[in-house]
């Protein structure tokens, strides 16, 4: 096909009766010459749909395994950098850390507060509806307090942070990678781990527990408002029920998970940023991946932790 077309083109360009002008003839000749050197790109041999399916499953499984290994390696690297920097106060990066605390903590406070307030109200409504049939409406207070202290406070905050902060970390570091800024840091003899990753990890380690505390408060207040308005449980009675029924251990069970989630969210966000390769499309793909991965990790760990605390009877 190509050969025939090329041959025709060449012949018509050189044909004595050709009525084309010189520029058109030059174009024909250019096409003819480039076709002469042109060869078909090598195609992968066709395989059946079944083999393709297996190959894709295999690739996906391998990718998950590689991602896990990389994440574990990266966590090790963060801890090593942290310990090495611990004894050199001159290398502590206070300013960027504080800036990141502001961005990840303070700036997220309104949305965390609003969201948990609303979820608290919804949980109280649910509890009121279900418990009314048992004549136990008053236990709505316990339901709201238990769920927010143990689970929802930290879980909702962590999921919000995964969507808001992990994506931001990936995009920030990823665009630096695409712009060769990470290479520039290395050639200046500096360590990107110390300069970029540690401040972000430390900032989230500080911000997430504080936000979790805020989320617990707002969730309980949301539940309290619903109790006051629709169940006739006055705020004073709400508080006294809280004091009577809820032990401090529930608050602690919720709060211990916060630093762990914070560390993992920050690690995933930064690592995905370093995986970016050059293009803007890659920044987008890895940002998505970091949000999905961190939400996944948070929920799985929370489920494991819930099981563990339940079995321990804490």
């Amino acid at each position: 096909m190509e050969l025939l077309g090329a041959e025709r083109l060449g012949r018509s360009a050189e044909h004595p009766n050709c009525r084309l002008g010189a520029p058109e003839r030059a174009l024909l000749q250019t096409v003819y010459c480039s076709l002469a050197d042109f060869c078909e790109p090598v195609r992968e041999p066709e395989v059946t749909a079944g083999v393709q399916l297996l190959a894709r499953i295999g690739r996906a499984v391998d990718l998950v395994w590689q991602d896990t290994l990389q994440l574990l390696g990266f966590i090790g690297l963060i801890l090593e950098t942290l310990v090495r920097g611990l004894f050199h106060p001159r290398r502590w990066r206070i300013t960027p850390t504080v800036a990141h605390i502001e961005q990840t903590g303070l700036d997220a406070a309104p949305i965390v507060a609003l969201l948990t307030f609303l979820v608290g109200a919804v949980v109280a409504f649910l509890g009121a509806t279900v418990l009314k049939s048992f004549g136990a409406s008053v236990f709505t207070v316990d339901l709201v307090a238990f769920s927010f202290l143990r689970e929802f406070g930290v879980l909702l905050t962590a999921i919000l942070m995964a969507g808001r902060t992990a994506s931001a970390f990936t995009a920030q570091i990823g665009s630096m990678k695409a712009n060769e800024e990470i290479d520039a840091i290395r050639t200046l003899g500096l360590d990107p781990m110390e300069l970029l990753v540690l401040p972000r990890v430390l900032a989230l380690l500080i911000a997430l527990p504080m936000l979790t505390f805020l989320a617990m408060l707002c969730g309980i207040v949301g539940g309290g408002v619903v109790c006051a308005l629709s169940l006739g449980i006055s705020p004073a009675m709400f508080l006294s029920l809280l004091q009577a029924d809820i032990g401090i251990q529930h608050f602690l069970v919720g709060l211990v998970k916060a630093p762990l989630f914070a560390f993992l969210i920050a690690a995933v966000g930064c690592l995905e940023g370093f995986k970016v390769s050059g293009s803007a499309e890659s920044v987008g793909a890895h940002t998505t991946s970091s949000v999905v991965q961190s939400i996944f990790i948070v929920i799985v760990l929370d489920a494991v932790a819930a099981l563990f605390f339940m079995e321990m009877g804490w």
Binding site: M176, D183, A184, R186, T187, L188, G189
Partner: protein
């Protein structure tokens, strides 16, 4: 040549038997190259011939698949991290797109390595940064701008100032004049020449700019067929029997650049 050719001094960079492979595709096979003290060496080659990969292997951003890179007589890869960082501080690297830190102003970009390594106070570092920026030919009005609001030429100059911040011994330039207007490019060439003569830098230059080749380089290394085909003074390189080299230096652009320099020769 317009300048007396320099006697080759000691080699500050020795690349021996370098191989770089990406999966099944190999970019370098058994590549040898030297950079002598105080010379300007240009590396040329077609697109995709691995010029930037070679630069990245030398400055330690890429681990070569095989072979050794010795800088000041030391193999960077075998050094402990602390010592490696010490050697790396003697490099100044100008990346193709500048790679300025986009969250810092131009002055802060140049001051960062000074604060980090030289332990200067912020005031002193920014003062010194202003000197380096002036040296690189950047107007003072640009000093407090962010990289996003600079033109391509200004970014190159700011990045050069950052590369010079720690008074490096070796300057690596990745296509320094690409994307500059002819006047800016000629001025940049002269700037590099002046800096080399004044500060005794050794310069490793990756370029496509034939004018740069003819005006400032001492030696030209041609990268083709996965290794260094020839590395010599430009006149002798241009005479080499090789179809690619012939087309490169004796094509219309090559002739124009060569003719532009020839009158100086006869002076």
């Amino acid at each position: 040549m317009s300048r007396p050719s320099r006697a080759p001094g000691e080699a500050v960079i020795e690349v021996r038997g370098l191989c770089n492979r990406f999966g099944s595709q190999s970019v370098h096979e058994n590549l040898d190259l030297d950079l002598y003290r105080g010379e300007i060496l240009a590396v040329v080659g077609g697109s995709g011939s691995g010029k930037s990969v070679l630069l990245r292997s030398i400055v330690g951003l890429r681990k070569p698949s095989e072979g050794s890179v010795r800088v000041f007589g030391q193999d960077l890869r075998s050094l402990p991290e602390q010592a490696r960082s010490q050697v790396e501080r003697r490099f100044g690297v100008l990346f193709q797109k500048g790679a300025l830190f986009s969250s810092l102003t131009v002055t802060e970009n140049v001051a960062l390595p000074l604060i980090e390594h030289a332990g200067l106070s912020r005031r002193d570092a920014e003062h010194l940064a202003a000197v380096k920026l002036a040296l690189a030919g950047l107007p003072l009005s640009a000093a407090n701008k962010y990289p996003a609001s600079l033109s391509g030429g200004m970014i190159k100059r700011a990045a050069l100032a950052r590369a010079l911040a720690l008074d490096p011994d070796i300057l690596f330039l990745d296509e320094p004049t690409a994307g500059l207007d002819p006047i800016g490019a000629a001025a940049f060439d002269q700037l590099i020449l002046t800096l080399r003569d004044a500060l005794g830098l050794s310069v490793f230059l990756v370029t496509h700019d034939l004018d740069t080749l003819y005006t400032i380089t001492d030696r030209v290394a041609v990268l083709a067929q996965k290794h260094v085909l020839v590395a010599d003074a430009i006149d002798r390189v241009a005479e080499t029997e090789d179809p690619w080299i012939h087309e490169y230096f004796h094509g219309p652009r090559g002739r124009a650049a060569s003719d532009a320099v020839t009158p100086h020769k006869e002076e």
